[in-house]
């Protein structure tokens, strides 16, 4: 194509964008945009319908049946609320797994967030080397729920594990923590707390947003470091605390890999690590009671929705948005 010295107004610049055969007016553009919207959205829409929505509705239906995956759909028997009744009244292991999960989340999540916030406060200064610490603290979160890490963790709290050898240095006689029903879940909590890096990084980002002037004003008013933390840092950080709290609680309810590895997929010792999701897995994929497992999944989903709703409705009493911006 010949070079033109002045841009021809009737022809679009061929260098910048591929050009359609004809120019479109605004009205026609919008029509094509509406169609294009659905073209671009189509993979997601197919996924939503095929992989998420329809299977979910199917599982809602199956939760009222005795479906066991081996019998064909045509012979599936409608059992009404029997699965839900069994869950709530006749299945002690179900309630046990609910208790295990709640215990885990109620203890591990606050401690993990406290660790994350504490370390974030320590790192919230500009000095050389801060990036290195940040990265090292984040590493366990990145290795996250991997099987390898769970294997190491379980062995570390074994009878001959590294933890007991550390205890013996200070003269304490250790025990096989992971085989003790009173301590197995606690070792999983310690694993969760150890992975405080991800919420820590989010706290750090939040701390950077607190305006310096607020601290200056507080110290002019004679507030000490503790009062500054209580009256400036905590309120300013409350949206980030809220965000981390919601995310970590939902994550906490879903703990699976470490419990699976510790108990070889059985929830032991004596069901002490029978997390809800592990119980769901055993019901559906070991015992093949897919109808019952579907019911468990739906109750899990509703529980998470309710807990999230409670967080959001109580959040307005303690979460402060300084500029009224909706998050």
């Amino acid at each position: 194509m010949a070079l033109t010295t002045a841009p021809d107004p009737t022809r679009p610049d061929p260098g910048s964008v591929r050009v359609h055969a004809e120019r479109r007016g605004p009205g026609r553009f919008r029509d094509s945009e509406g169609l294009a919207g659905y073209v671009f959205l189509s993979p997601w829409l197919i996924g939503l319908m095929g992989i998420t929505a329809i299977p979910m509705l199917l599982s809602l239906y199956l939760s009222f049946t005795n479906y066991d995956i081996l019998t064909p759909f045509s012979e599936v028997e409608w059992v009404g609320l029997a699965n839900y009744e069994r869950m709530f009244t006749a299945d002690p292991s179900y309630w046990h797994s609910v208790r295990v999960t709640l215990t885990f989340a109620l203890i591990a999540v606050p401690l993990k967030l406290a660790a994350a916030l504490g370390v974030a406060l320590l790192l919230n200064r500009a000095w050389r080397g801060v990036g290195l610490f940040r990265g090292l603290f984040y590493l366990p979160s990145l290795l996250g729920g991997s099987v390898a890490l769970a294997i190491v963790w379980v062995n570390m709290f074994n009878r001959d594990g590294a933890f007991n050898s550390l205890l013996s240095l200070v003269g304490i006689q250790g025990k096989p923590w992971v085989n003790d029903p009173d301590w197995a879940l606690e070792t999983l909590m310690v694993l969760a707390i150890w992975q405080f890096g991800a919420p820590m990084v989010i706290f750090l980002a939040g701390l950077k947003q607190v305006p310096t002037e607020l601290y200056e004003a507080a110290s002019v008013d004679g507030a000490g470091r503790f009062r500054q933390f209580r009256n400036v840092t905590l309120p300013m950080l409350s949206p980030v605390i809220f965000f981390n709290l919601v995310l970590e609680t939902i994550n906490g309810f879903q703990g699976f890999t470490a419990a699976f590895v510790l108990s070889n997929g059985l929830g032991g010792p004596v069901d002490s690590t029978l997390m809800y999701t592990l119980n769901l897995y055993i019901t559906g994929f070991t015992d093949l009671e897919m109808g019952y497992a579907s019911a468990m999944a739906w109750v899990f989903l509703l529980a998470i929705a309710v807990i999230t709703a409670i967080f959001f409705s109580t959040g307005r009493f303690w979460v402060h948005y300084s500029d009224g911006e909706d998050r």
Binding site: W44, V119, L122, R125, S141, T212, T277, A297
Partner: protein, 299 residues
């Protein structure tokens, strides 16, 4: 969230270049941080140390480092089962890389529609997409298993389809959301300019959004790889043949064989399995950390 001057790192000093502040006690802080680093790194160093200990040393010496360096656990672990661990690594690599491609493509398309195009019911679909962010995979796994099993895809000709199909259909709502947020930051004037030049939605996507979305694509690719590499639940549910196993599922075989002699090889293979993630960490440390604090991605 409020925005302040980027130099507001030190709350009471206007100049952040002077780290010493009244009450700051930098030495004490450094000591505490070093102690925490020791606690955080101890299990990882112990894992690597144990992986090169001989069997008797594993039982008798629980210290961090081996007295005698024994690399034999690595060769023993590599061929501990009927199928070589190399096969498991290849399976994991294939699943992870295809997931990266699938997530990148499908989430980018969906995000462009949500971020830039006007179409009927967009607001409703967007709300639905945000809603699926909260859907735990443990809830979806039962219906998805039933679906894929009904389609004879579980343990079928190519057993990875149940793992991969969802990834090519933008079901990882988090990445869609991430890219939408990113694209909203791309100046609209670029679209307008291209539009004046006669480009339609496809041209704008191809020539403006796609090239400018590279940072979001890279972030998605890195996290998608690491998450899939580490994922255990879905792979456990959908893979049933030994030769199809991915690394995490294969690692649990060591736990099944409860004999003490497998501890060394188990640790060796655990170390190897963390290696790709660790290399990503070393290469993208800054980006990973920035990535979570701008988007809330978790490890």
């Amino acid at each position: 969230m409020v925005t302040v001057t980027p130099t507001a790192d030190a709350p009471t000093t206007p100049a952040p270049t002077t780290p010493r502040r009244p009450g700051g006690r930098p030495v004490l802080r450094l000591l505490i941080l070093v102690a925490i680093v020791a606690v955080v790194l101890y299990p990882l160093i112990w894992m690597i140390g144990t992986s090169v200990k001989s069997q008797e040393e594993i039982v008798n010496n629980v210290g961090l480092l081996p007295e005698r360096f024994t690399p034999g656990n690595y060769t023993a672990g590599w061929s501990n089962f009927d199928v070589s661990f190399g096969r498991f690594f290849l399976n994991s690599a294939m699943v992870s890389l295809l997931t990266v491609v699938g997530n990148g493509l499908s989430c980018l398309l969906a995000a462009y529609a949500f971020a830039r195009l006007r179409f009927r019911l967009r607001g409703m679909w967007f709300a639905v997409m945000i809603g699926t962010l909260l859907l735990p995979q443990h809830v979806l796994i039962v219906p998805q298993y039933i679906l894929f099993r009904t389609l004879s895809l579980v343990g079928g000709e190519w057993p990875y389809l149940p793992l991969l199909i969802p990834q090519f259909l933008a079901t990882e709502a988090f990445f869609v959301f991430l890219m939408v947020q990113f694209m909203r930051g791309v100046p609209r004037e670029l679209d307008e300019a291209a539009r004046i030049d006669g480009a339609g939605p496809y041209g704008i996507f191809r020539h403006i959004i796609l090239p400018l979305s590279r940072p979001a694509l890279v972030t998605t690719a890195i996290f998608s790889f690491i998450w899939t590499w580490n994922d255990f639940f879905r792979q456990l549910v959908f893979l049933s043949q030994l030769e199809d196993y991915t690394v995490p599922v294969a690692l649990t075989l060591f736990i099944d064989s409860t004999s003490q002699s497998a501890v060394g090889p188990m640790f060796a293979m655990s170390v190897l399995s963390l290696l790709p993630v660790f290399l990503f960490f070393v290469a993208f440390q800054r980006m990973l950390v920035e990535g979570i604090n701008t988007s809330g991605i978790k490890g």
